[in-house]
Amino acid sequence: MRRRSFLTGFLLAVGSAIAAVLFRRRAARSKERVELYFADGTIVSLAEGAPGAERLLQHARELLGAAR
């Protein structure tokens, strides 16, 4: 009986952890972002809400809108 409840608790904990990871990944994916790559290998990543990101996102939305 005790062993069974331990197993249930363990499975519940693992399941919750996996669900949390999947939820975070999904949330991160649905966020709009800009990535800039420079000649020396520097990458500048600007997520939605970061200073300066909105202007770039707006231009990109216009571009995507013009394409469709």
């Binding site: 994916r29 649905s30 709009e32 972002r33 800009v34 990535e35 800039l36 790559y37 420079f38 000649a39 020396d40 520097t42 500048v44 600007l46 300066g52 202007r55 770039l56 996102l57 231009h59 990109a60 939305r61 216009e62 571009l63 995507l64 013009a66 394409a67 469709r68």
Partner: protein
């Protein structure tokens, strides 16, 4: 190979790319996969995006070579070299590395096409037969 043909090849090879436009640094459309009106709007937006992105350079004079923007509903890619820019749109969540590779290959191909071909080396002139000296004939 014409620029338009190169773009057609690009959209055939990369199924993720929906539209693409090649422009110069002044925003003039060189070739595109869409009609002229849409191509003009695409080029204008791409140039504005590129110029706005260049303001985010971490050091003065550092060149921005490529960018990607992930949006809800699709992604936007811009790759630039010295005098040409290629902008493309894709569906949502594309394979970023693969799209960049295809765009850079296309741009490189166009660059090679427009570069002047090296002049062929002049053929060596056949040697004139050696004149015999007067004492050799004697």
């Amino acid at each position: 190979m014409a620029t338009a043909e190169a773009l057609r090849d690009l959209t055939e090879i990369s199924t993720q790319i929906e539209t693409a436009v090649v422009l110069d640094r002044e925003g003039t459309v060189v070739a595109s996969t869409v009609d002229d009106e849409r191509a003009g709007r695409l080029a204008q937006s791409a140039l504005e995006l590129l110029r706005a992105a260049e303001e985010h350079r971490p050091e003065e004079g550092l060149e921005l070579v490529q960018l990607d923007v992930a949006l809800r509903g699709g992604s936007v890619f811009v790759v630039s070299d010295r005098d040409r820019v290629i902008a493309a749109t894709t569906r949502e969540e594309p394979t970023v590395g693969l799209v960049f590779y295809d765009l850079k290959s296309c741009l490189r191909g166009l660059g090679e096409e427009s570069a002047p071909k090296p002049k062929p080396k002049p053929k060596p002139r056949p040697r004139a037969p050696r004149k015999k000296k007067a004492d050799e004939t004697a």
